[in-house]
Amino acid sequence: MIMKLAMAGLLATTVMAVVPAQAETLRLLTWGSYAPDELVKKFEEKYPDITVEVTFSNNEEMIAKLRATGGAGFDLAQPSHDRIFAVQQEYNIYKPLDLSKINTDAMQAKLLDGVKANTTIDGEVYAVPHQWGTSGLMANKSVAPDVKAWGDLCDPQYKGKTSMRLKRTILLGMAFDMGEDPFAAYADLDKYQSILDKVADKLIDCKDNLKAYWKGGDDLSAMMMSGEIVASETWDSTAYKLYGENKDIVFVPPKTGALAWIDTFAIPRKGEADDAAYKWINFVLEPENVKIMSASTGAIAAVEGGKDLLPDDKKAAVNAAFTDADIDNLKFFANIPAGVEDMEGKTLEKIKAATGSE
């Protein structure tokens, strides 16, 4: 038995060792819908010696996966721009990018500079932008036309008919709504804690007004489409999808500004297919491929004129949601300093555990 096991083990390792020699594998760790089949097929046709393996995840799980292996197991990851600096300092899971291998000319200069500024450590750049989008509000215009600010989710006239995700986005949005600037307070964590305490009180009072906390795009869509809720905190892409089915459901940038994120490309420290990773980055930023990508993700590519490369229905949804003033008012997520996740986590737990209001 042991002999057999050993043999099997030996066989397995040889097989694993042989595969990359025949064809390179690009192991992509990304968000659901960020690697549409159509695009993967096109890429594999263009580079027949590369096979693409996709793992869908989210910010937190991406970091947890890479942290568990010290940055091995994947060749390209796509965390958001605010999740790189502190994580890299703490866990060292990415390697610096070789910008000469990336077609940075294709990227929108403002976003590229922003991401570079956010992710440069010791003079090395760790990420470049891919797509951006926002978090804000979604409302059914026909029944909740007055939803304009984060705080309106707690408006008693919509009692039992609003929802939010109990994550850091709503903490930040509510802080802005209360006239604070949480990103500025990142520099002074005591100040930030006092803001969080205020926000927690507000959200605990607000609990009674909510139907439920949504956990993913699917349950949010189901509640919104069925009319069980009339307004909610949301990702813009979820709102755009629903707009396609019901023109009354629109994305509403809160009057204090929608919160904007940029998903990036970063290469894990023990990635084994850097060249393939660079090829993928350049490939998905080509205009005709951006179209396929944006159709699948609903997010806007970080290339010049990215909005015009959205499919028509999504473009209509964006235009229905944003004015130019709204775009100027965007609040980009600031780098999360070490320790803030813990403070926010405790606040979220406190809100979840509060039972006074049911």
Binding site: M1, I2, L5, E60, E61, I63, A64, R67, V87, Q89, E90, Y91, N92, K167, K207, L210, K211, A212, Y213, K215, D219, A222, S226, G227, E228, A338, E341, D342, G345, L348, E349, K350, K352, A353, A354, T355, E358
Partner: protein, 289 residues
């Protein structure tokens, strides 16, 4: 001599996969977890040995409240599963004929062929405000406005009972099956009525099955993740969710690992207490059925 060696060798060979499994997949990861749980983070990439993560749990009421809540709800689920499962098991073991027995058993099994996630979504479809139950009640004229059955503790308990009841039924059927019908008849012949026979003869006989079913159900419930998360409401926190948050959203593996051990210790304590109260031992219950 030769004979003895062969015997020994075959014993080792038979035992090896099991030992490897236990060691590589249970003991080793737990040792690693324990090591992480006694590490205190003092700065980026700097750790110190200490029990801070455990102390943290006791000083923060949210954490132990959640654990107690999870524990008490799991006990409730166990009790409900026993109440509902016992008559079913009794019917299958004692009353049903040989042919229906197989069919009944199969019917209990069928829900397990579907994944946890799908079952939870099934409940969501039934219970939500615009779901099947609410709309049929409206159609029947029982209620006027839609009612939300989802997102509360009752929904969580119902979902959990549904998921785990099979693990209560199986050990009960197997113990009740071994009981001689003559014992029940004798009970009646000696003047006992239904409740007395149940209390004095059937339950004591089925005790090993009851206890082993309860242990399995309690462990499964306290450690479940999907059902409480998907069916639970604004206030229903579950301890496994707390552990997930520590590991994943807060990058705090140290306290997540400590919480994991606390959950293990807590459930073991409850099981130990249950065994003491019922006067059973692990050997007479789980090991038997």
């Amino acid at each position: 001599m030769m004979q003895k060696d062969i015997k020994r060798l075959s014993l080792i060979l038979l035992f090896a996969p099991f030992a490897l499994w236990i060691f590589l997949l249970i003991v080793l990861p737990h040792l690693g977890m324990f090591y992480i749980s006694v590490r205190e983070k003092v700065g980026p990439r700097m750790y110190e040995f200490g029990l801070g993560n455990y102390i943290n749990f006791f000083t923060e009421p949210i954490y132990w409240n959640t654990l107690i809540r999870t524990g008490s709800m799991s006990l409730l689920v166990t009790a409900l599963a026993l109440l509902l499962g016992f008559p079913i098991a009794y019917y299958i073991a004692k009353i049903a004929g040989n042919r229906t027995r197989g069919a009944l058993f199969l019917m209990c099994l069928i829900p397990l062929w579907v994944s946890d996630l799908i079952r939870a979504f099934g409940w969501i479809l039934l219970l939500r405000e615009t779901g099947i139950i609410s709309s049929s009640l409206q159609w029947a004229g029982v209620i006027n406005t839609p009612i939300e059955f989802l997102y509360n503790d009752a929904a969580v308990i119902m979902g959990l009972v549904y998921t785990v009841i099979l693990f209560m039924i199986v050990p009960l059927v197997s113990t009740l099956d071994g009981m001689d019908n003559a014992m029940i008849e004798a009970g009646y012949n000696l003047g006992g009525n239904g409740p007395t026979v149940l209390r004095r003869i059937i339950i004591p006989y089925a005790m090993p099955g009851i206890v082993s079913g309860c242990i399995v159900v309690f462990m499964l419930t306290a450690g479940s993740y999907l059902t409480p998360i998907l069916l639970g409401g604004k206030n229903s926190s579950w301890f496994t969710e707390q552990i997930y948050d520590q590991f994943i959203t807060r990058y705090n593996w140290e306290s997540g690992a400590a919480f994991g051990f606390l959950l293990l210790a807590f459930t073991s304590l409850v099981v130990w207490g249950g065994l003491k109260l019922s006067g059973q031992t692990l050997n007479s219950t789980v090991a038997k059925s």
